[in-house]
């Protein structure tokens, strides 16, 4: 057994020393360790070893003594731990070590001395460590050979390798190394060639080191750069200088400017001088960092960080002292015009791990994001922000106020939901957005919305995810239309996409309104579905563009029903037009609208056939006809409607009364104040059958739906004509109606279905009938009819006539006298009460040609309820009326003078 070296190992340097120096120290400790181990193994002095902080286990022998595991502690702190130690040869001594791990123990800071070199007269030995792990170093393989003071060291880590040659006697050493840039920073390319030499004797240590970087670059970047680093060490003083020959490519398209990057100097304890000048250029602009330590020590200094570029602008003076970095109050202009400001100086610890308070203000257009409670924590390669954010300001016409509190890290955000309050005229919405679980790579947001628009309550869910620079998502929202007294639930389901300034609702997005009561009307469900993409720039009051499909199931009221309605609505910003149909009534509606001032205006065109189906709420039943109406409407706090309506081919019935051949154009002006209606050109009705036909009726009218002014009224009736210049209804005044060429035969024919006519009259009469047009009836007072030309009177022999004749002689004579009469003077005065009872006093003067022209005067009084007569006529000749209907295109018309019983 060779005697172990008899000197005590140099106490290992308190601080983790320069890499190659530590290896040498390590070797010493190992040799000592080995000797002690052997000693302990031989005499079993395990206890003594413990005292030295050594634990051994697994002593054994495979081709030489070996220790499976051992640990070495210094003052309780594990300094080194190894496994698989074996002595495989004795001459020269060869020690093999499977695995050795070095730990750095906290040391009291003391000024460092130059480490002393290993002893000169050590026996030859070889040391092979398969896997050496030291803090902040990747595991590497180490081989040391020493013979007669000539040390040779080889270290290898993947393709990186280091050779060191040291003559202990002369103290001369020189070393070469090859280091791949990739192992310095993933993605870096190129390699570093190191050459160093110097002297290391007890009391003196000098080194001159040069490192040449070749083909330095970054993956995916074409640039390649050369760099040079020079380090000089003379006992305790050292200088360092590094420079870049060409720009060095950095990640994200940035590159470091060529030139002197770093100059520094100092002694083993501290850095005396340091000039750092980093200038980097990138897509966003350039970053210029200059650092100058205060005179003596690196411990404190000042610097300036300058950002310049189209979208990046800022000057940040900084100071560092006692391991604290202070950024002076500054502001930074960021892309899209945002400005980042911190009003007070920011304090950050200069450490691999630490935390600092970073209150800041971020301005973007009219929005401001404030964060007073803002702390950044970083360490072991990660970071975490914690604090509270408040947002306030205006954007695109909306007032935004938001609050959030929580943590933000590379894995995403955690904390309370983000609260956002969005306000616009008549809009007030609060959105709550849970942040937990949002992955920063592709954020999936889900917000609950609650609030109201005008006085519709609003609540729902909005989801959003990012697709490149665009966002997309869907909306489910429900509300209730306040003006519905019952029901009127509103459901919106929409898919949207877009980016600020250009938002789109995708086709298929749908707004459905449930059935509900609006006033006394039951509105059935209706829906609006996006037929095309709906584009909007999202700002208030700018409207949208695109097409919508309207489906409405109609409406029901106690007296009328509106059938289903559907059609297309085309939105164009602040204007829209719709073409709608009511299939059941074959009606077409064209509606246009545009925003005007604080209201809106537009046109409405209605083209529809008139049918019985429409007449449910009317007292008349429309049989046929065509309505074409062109209206303009305006709404500004109250509505206004004017335009005209063309009716043609109108046929209707009012119960027993038929009218057909209606045609005419009405002009209309309506508003909440009232309606003004006037005919445009004569209104015509071919036939009005009230029991006896009125034909070719023409009139002009003006009305406010309460008072009706009729003018140029004319009609053909009973073979003659009726006309009136002006008629006002309702009115208690007696208004003259001229009657002309009424055929007496037609009048007597009216009796035909009661009983055979007692008197037959031919010839024409005319005159004036003062008409009182009452709200619910018509009356005649002092109507006067005269003969127009010759009349003839016959009392034809008939059953009833014969019956009367036999009853008494006088009657016989009279009837003979009246059997035939040529009348030259006929005067009738007519009075009819509103009840319809007519009292006619007729005086006929004529001669009986058969009784040698005997002059006869007939005073004939007639009393009958004309309305009931007409009503009975309407019943009796249904057959003939239906014939009449077919002749004149059928149908009945709106009556003029029908009174109520």
């Amino acid at each position: 057994m060779s005697q172990p070296a008899d000197h005590t190992p140099a106490t290992p340097p308190p601080r983790p020393p320069r890499r190659w120096r530590r290896l040498a120290v390590l070797v010493l400790t190992l040799l000592l360790l080995l000797a002690l181990a052997l000693l302990a193994a031989a005499w079993g002095g395990r206890w003594w070893l413990q005292q030295q902080g050594l634990q051994l286990s697994g002593l054994g022998w495979q081709q030489g003594p070996g220790i499976a595991r051992w640990q070495w502690r210094q003052q309780g702190c594990l300094t080194a731990e190894g496994s698989g130690l074996r002595i495989s040869d004795w001459q020269p001594l060869r020690i093999e070590l499977q695995q050795l791990q070095l730990f750095s123990c906290p040391q009291a800071a003391k000024t460092r001395q130059i480490p002393s070199p290993p002893a000169a007269d050590l026996p030859a030995f070889q040391l092979h460590i398969a896997r050496l792990q030291a803090a902040a170093l990747p595991p590497l393989a180490l081989a040391i050979r020493q013979q007669a003071g000539h040390w040779q060291l080889q270290a290898r880590q993947q393709q990186n390798q280091l050779q060191l040659d040291y003559q202990r006697a002369a103290g001369q050493w020189h070393a070469t190394a090859l280091l791949h840039a990739a192992s310095l920073y993933p993605g870096m390319l190129g390699e570093l060639q190191l050459r160093g030499s110097g002297r290391w004797l007890p009391g003196t240590l000098s080194a001159k080191l040069e490192a040449d970087g070749r083909q330095l670059g970054y993956q995916g970047q074409p640039q390649r750069a050369a760099a040079r680093l020079q380090l000089g060490l003379d006992n305790r003083q050292w200088q360092l200088a590094s420079s870049l020959a060409q720009p060095l490519a950095l990640p994200a398209g940035w590159q470091l400017q060529a030139g002197h990057v770093l100059q520094a100097g100092g002694d083993l304890d501290s850095v005396h001088s340091l000039q750092v000048r980093l200038l980097a250029h990138g897509p966003q602009g350039s970053v210029d960092l200059q650092l100058q330590p205060d005179h003596q020590s690196l411990q404190q200094g000042s610097g300036l960080l300058q950002l310049a570029g189209s979208t990046l602008q800022g000057r940040i003076p900084l100071r560092w002292a006692k391991r604290q970095l202070t950024l002076a109050p500054a502001s930074l202009r960021l892309p899209q015009g945002a400005v980042l400001r911190w009003p007070q100086a920011l304090q950050l610890p200069l450490a691999v791990a630490g935390s600092g308070r970073l209150p800041f203000r971020l301005h973007y257009q009219q929005l401001q994001l404030n964060s007073d409670d803002s702390t950044l924590r970083w360490g072991d390669g990660s970071w975490q922000w914690q604090g509270a954010l408040t947002l306030a300001g205006k954007h695109a016409g909306y007032r935004l106020d938001g609050r959030w509190q929580g943590q933000l890290g590379p894995q995403g955000a955690r904390g309370k939901p983000l609260d956002l309050h969005v306000q616009a005229p008549q809009l007030d919405i609060r959105a709550s957005l849970p942040v937990d679980g949002i992955r920063p790579q592709q954020p999936q947001l889900q917000a609950d919305i609650r609030g109201h628009y005008q006085d519709c309550p609003l609540q729902g869910k909005l989801s959003a995810r990012q697709q490149g620079t665009r966002w997309q998502g869907d909306i489910q929202a429900s509300s209730r239309l306040p003006f519905y007294s019952q029901g009127g639930e509103l459901q919106l389901t929409a898919n949207w996409q877009g980016q600020p300034g250009n938002w789109q609702l995708l086709p298929g997005s749908r707004l459905a309104i449930g059935q509900g009561m609006l006033g006394g009307v039951l509105l059935k469900p209706l829906s609006l579905t996006a037929g095309s993409v709906l584009n909007s720039d999202g700002s208030v009051g700018h409207g949208a563009n695109g097409s919508l499909q309207l489906e409405a199931a109609g409406a029901v009221a106690s007296r009328w029903v509106l059938p289903a309605l559907n059609g297309r609505i085309q939105l164009a910003g602040n204007a829209a037009n719709a073409s709608l149909q009511l299939p059941a009534w074959r009606s077409q509606l064209q509606l246009s609208a545009r925003r005007q001032g604080s209201g809106a205006a537009g046109s409405l065109a209605i083209d529809t056939p008139l049918s019985a189906a429409m007449s449910r709420g009317l007292d008349v039943t429309l049989q046929q006809g065509q309505l074409a109406s062109r209206l303009q409407w305006r709404w500004d706090k109250q509505w206004q409607l004017n335009g005209n309506a063309d009716i043609s081919g109108l046929a209707l019935d009012w119960g027993g009364i038929l009218a057909s051949g209606g045609k005419g154009r009405l002009s209309l002006a309506a508003s909440p104040a009232g309606v003004q209606l006037h005919s445009d050109g004569p209104l015509q009705l071919a036939l009005l059958d009230v029991g006896t036909p009125l034909q070719d009726i023409r009139l002009a009218l003006r009305s406010d739906l309460h008072d009706w002014q009729l003018s140029d009224v004319q009609a053909r009736v009973l073979g003659g004509s009726v006309s009136a210049g002006q008629l006002q209804w309702p009115s208690s005044a007696f208004q003259p109606v001229t009657v002309h060429a009424i055929d007496l035969a037609a009048i007597t024919a009216l009796q035909k279905n009661e009983q055979p006519a007692t008197v037959q009259l031919t010839g024409r009469v005319g005159g004036l009938l003062p008409l009182q047009l009452l709200p619910r009836g018509v009356a005649v007072q002092n109507g006067l009819l005269r003969n127009e030309g010759e009349l003839t009177l016959r009392v034809p022999p008939g059953a009833s006539v014969r019956a009367m004749a036999q009853s008494n002689q006088a009657v016989q004579l009279a009837l003979d006298m009246l059997s035939e009469l040529d009348v030259n003077d006929f005067q009738a005065t007519l009075n009819m009460a509103a009840s319809g009872v007519l009292d006619a006093q007729v005086t006929l003067k004529g001669v009986n040609p058969k009784q040698n022209r005997q002059p006869v005067v007939l005073n004939y009084s007639h009393s009958e309820n004309i309305l009931e007569l007409l009503r009975s006529l309407r019943i009796s000749d249904d057959i003939s009326r239906s014939v009449l209907q077919r002749q004149s295109g059928g149908g009945t018309r709106n009556p003029v003078t029908e009174s109520k019983p």
Binding site: E754, A810, L815, Q854, V856, L858, S861, N865, S872, I875
Partner: protein, 44 residues
Amino acid sequence: CTPRVALEVPKEPITINLNVKIDHEIRLKVEKDVDSLTTDSGLF
């Protein structure tokens, strides 16, 4: 209906007075129909 007749001297114009009064009993029919409607049509 019941016509009444009076006689005058010949060559002098003969004056005949003829009074006719016609009544229609249309109203009752309607009321009967409405009555039956309001009682057994199930609509009231």
